[in-house]
């Protein structure tokens, strides 16, 4: 082999958290909003880098606009999660089935047209509704639902689960332990 020792090998400092700057054009949602989930566009559906937006720095153009995203594995943030599980076939398919949300359920960054229209990013659907008829359709695992601290009464909100699926879908704000750059 001809490998060599890099003299510029390290970029990140050591630390428990990982906050990193990503330009708007590389985000699935190019109008990012702090506190919401974000997905970085990548070559392979189902394997994208994801995290939670901490702050944004809009510039004069998209190419000079940046979002600071928390990619720390196992960080827990409150996120809105849609109860949809599957979509009907074809381009921009409608929501087809729903399920109750419970602790431990996996949640995905879901760029379905119905999700975008609702301004929601996370759902329990492993595949999207084929937005605009363009595949592939696999969603990337964002994290898992966990109990969150409760200000009153018992020490977590575990008692509120399961959260209703709804006859036509529901959206619930729950604590999500994100996978971040860990998987």
């Amino acid at each position: 082999m001809t490998e060599s020792v890099h003299n510029d090998y390290e970029v990140a400092s050591e630390g428990a958290v990982r906050h990193w700057e990503i330009p708007y054009p590389r985000l699935t949602d190019q109008t990012p909003t702090p506190t919401n989930p974000a997905r970085v566009t990548g070559l392979l559906a189902g394997a994208q880098l994801q995290g939670t937006i901490l702050t944004i720095s809009p510039g004069p153009a998209a190419a000079t606009s940046f979002a600071v995203i928390d990619f720390t594995p196992s960080m827990v943030y409150m996120h809105d999660v849609r109860t949809v599980l599957t979509y009907a076939g074809g381009a921009d398919g409608a929501e087809a089935s729903w399920g109750a949300l419970n602790i431990g359920d996996p949640v995905y960054y879901d760029n379905s047209t119905t999700m975008v229209a609702a301004g929601i990013y996370l759902s329990t659907a492993p595949a999207n509704d084929t937005p605009g008829g363009v595949g592939p359709t696999a969603n990337t695992l964002f994290g898992w639902i966990v109990p969150s601290p409760l200000a009153t009464g018992f020490d977590t909100n575990a008692a509120v689960f399961p959260l209703a699926a709804g006859g036509a879908g529901n959206t619930h704000r729950v604590a999500v332990m994100q996978r971040g750059a860990g998987g």
Binding site: A12, G42, A181
Partner: protein, 180 residues
């Protein structure tokens, strides 16, 4: 179940980083070089533990690997996407490298010959195209360095490489480490 509470459950200390020692013999590349990417052999292709080599102990043939999830290091990444049928298939398709692209530890013979470990190919060149899956190593992210000429990251230089030509680029990679 008959599980019990382990009295000896903890090995690592709590902490932000995870540096761990591995014997040379368990690496894909048994001649490890510090600052390079490394993969530890495992039973199942596509699920190998990986990280960045911090140092080596040649006397005892041991290497210290940083397997911290989310750590960012500069790595050389080849823009190959697919190979022709193996064994030792040639590079078949290439694509520009951009921020967010997944990179894999790729033990293909063409990579070994170049002394490069990471590529954008989800499978190596050892068998039929796509047959031998590579393990996801991490993702390309902007680097905080002087390359941008005044701007605080190097985003302006992306995408890197052409679609039809094989090339290698030194980029910042946020590693998955022991997180997945």
């Amino acid at each position: 179940m008959t599980e019990t509470v382990h009295s000896d459950y903890e090995v690592s200390s709590e902490g932000a980083v995870r540096h761990w020692t591995f014997p040379y013999a368990r690496f894909h590349d048994t001649t490890p070089t510090p600052t390079n990417a490394a993969a530890v052999n495992g039973l199942v292709a596509g699920t190998h533990i990986q990280g960045t080599l911090l140092s080596i102990d040649a006397t005892n043939s041991m290497a210290i690997l940083d397997v911290t999830s989310g750590m960012v290091y500069m790595h050389d990444v080849r823009n190959v996407l697919t190979y022709g049928a193996g064994p030792a298939g040639v590079e078949a398709t290439m694509g520009p490298i951009n921020i967010g692209d997944p990179v894999y530890y790729d033990p293909s013979t063409t990579m070994v010959a170049l002394g490069i470990y990471l590529s954008t190919a989800p499978a190596d060149n050892g068998g039929a195209p796509g047959a031998n899956v590579n393990t996801l190593f991490g993702w390309v992210v902007p680097a905080t360095n002087a390359l941008a000429g005044g701007f605080d990251t190097d985003v302006a230089r992306f995408p890197l490489g052409a679609a039809l030509v094989g090339s290698t680029h030194r980029v910042a990679v946020m590693q998955r480490g022991a997180g997945g």
